[in-house]
Amino acid sequence: MDGAARRRLVKAAGWGAALAPLALLLADAARHRLGANPIEAVLNRLGFWTFTFLVLSLAPTPLRLWTGLAWPLRLRRLLGVTAFSYAALHFSWYLGVDQFFDLQAVGADVVKRPFITVGFTALLLLLPLAVTSTDGWVRRLGFARWKALHRLAYPAALLGVVHFLWRVKADRLKPTVFAVVVAALLLARLRRRAVRPFGAAVDTPPGGK
């Protein structure tokens, strides 16, 4: 297989992975397999996939450091935009279905409930990243500034962990697993920065060129 074909295959697999959770969700809804509280089930699933894709979008760089694998770098943009899309669906579901546009209740939640404040902040942090995810924006901002901006993905992921931890009643297993993964990815980057300080960036723009 030549390089171009391999690139297409990687992209196709990425798109498949990005859409699979949504397809499964729709299939379960059509077959009435969302349980007794489908509104809550959909909300929780969208939140889970937001976090999963956010973590996956942060993984390619440390993965290359550890294993030398370069092809996942090509998927960073797709994974990041997918994470934002699930975050937007998660919030829209909360706003439009769970709370049914009760803006007073939503406003009170965002202000008064720390776990919602934190989740909403994470969504706001992801918004500029989604907007500037195109090649055009990389050029407009310049790669250095663009890259600095896109480090916001880390605070967003950390806030996501907190959002999840503060939501659960007692069983912290799942959010703890996420927290450990995010911490490992962040430490890998910090270590690399210590080893290879400024000016020696090996990062490539999101198109992988």
Binding site: R31, I39, R113, F115, D171
Partner: protein, 312 residues
């Protein structure tokens, strides 16, 4: 085209109260349309299990529709069988609710240790349809089958020192594998003041929908206190102990700021992390307003002189 018409009479105008509610009206209309589009549960199964002899039926849920059997038995908080609400129904097979021995002891003149079937056969069974409000802000309407705890307490004759009633769930990780992880401190324990325990609404349930309790709902014996949050309804009870001191309770041990001893349903007192003002009735689209004492205001006299905000 709309124009200023000075001849329009006050009475012809939309009353202000309705005008102010126009958004509620739109919301209700849209919600109705959405609920029609919302997929219902397919292949809803009827009640299964051994039928129980019900001597009397009492509905105390204001004529509200029953939550279907399938929902009542597939959406459960029973951490001893897994922390996802779908877990207990899938994993209940490890629980062996018969034979089952229950002990009633502590500050009583006639302590008892007997088989659960021998226990319920001492009382005429009643079907009691109650609202059940979970602390997580969802609710159901469930036809329980059981007998008033107060009737049992009278048989064991509490001593003058008995001020509280403590309940304990089975502690056996082989039957309740969730106990292998210390999500809560095991066994699950709960408690009531003796006047709450003796209130005629307080039920020891052995069944629902006329059948013996399924494992995921707390077989073979569980507590039902309809004016309190669901976590007070301790499941799979092996021991009931009358005490002089207030007994520890599981959720209060884990997070005392979030779960008090009383656990009374109160829309005015929010959980520190979410509002308790409204609840989602399982099967409904729009949230409903939560009622003080879950609608069972006849218990209010139990709390005369106490600050309701301290009774979470």
């Amino acid at each position: 085209m709309a124009r200023w018409r000075p001849d329009m009479k006050e009475a012809e105008a939309t009353p202000e109260s309705l005008w102010l509610r126009r958004r509620d009206f739109l919301r209700l209309g849209a919600a109705g349309a959405l609920s029609l589009a919302w997929p219902g549960r397919s292949a809803a199964g009827g009640p299964v299990g051994v039928p129980l002899p019900v001597a009397k039926r009492v509905t105390l849920a204001g004529g509200e529709a029953l939550t279907p059997w399938d929902d009542v038995t597939s959406y459960n908080n029973f951490y001893e069988l897994g922390t996802d609400k779908s877990d207990p129904a899938v994993r209940a097979g490890t629980l062996r609710p018969r034979p089952w021995t229950v002990t009633i002891d502590g500050e009583v003149k006639r302590p008892l240790t007997l088989d659960v079937d021998a226990l319920w056969k001492r009382f005429p069974l009643e079907e009691r349809t109650y609202r059940m409000r979970c602390v997580e802000a969802w609710s159901m309407v469930i036809p329980w089958v059981g007998f008033p705890l107060g009737d049992l307490l009278r048989q064991v004759e509490p001593t003058s020192r008995a001020k509280f009633v403590a309940f304990q769930t089975l502690h056996d990780p082989a039957q309740l594998p969730g106990q292998r992880r210390a999500v809560l401190e095991w066994p699950y324990v709960e408690g009531l003041r003796i006047d709450e325990a003796s209130h005629p609404l307080t039920l020891l349930a052995v069944g629902l929908y006329g059948r013996v309790l399924p494992g995921q709902n707390g077989a073979p014996l569980r507590l039902v206190v309809p004016w309190k949050y669901g976590f007070k309804g301790v499941k799979s009870i092996v021991r009931i102990t009358l005490t002089e001191r207030q007994p520890p309770t599981s959720w209060n041990r884990l997070a005392p700021r979030e779960y008090g001893f009383h656990g009374n349903v109160n829309p005015e007192v929010d959980h520190p992390r979410w509002s308790q003002a409204r609840e989602r009735r399982i099967g409904e689209f729009l949230k409903r307003k939560t009622l003080p004492f879950n609608g069972y205001t006849e218990v209010a006299s139990l709390y005369a002189g106490l600050d309701p905000k301290a009774l979470y």
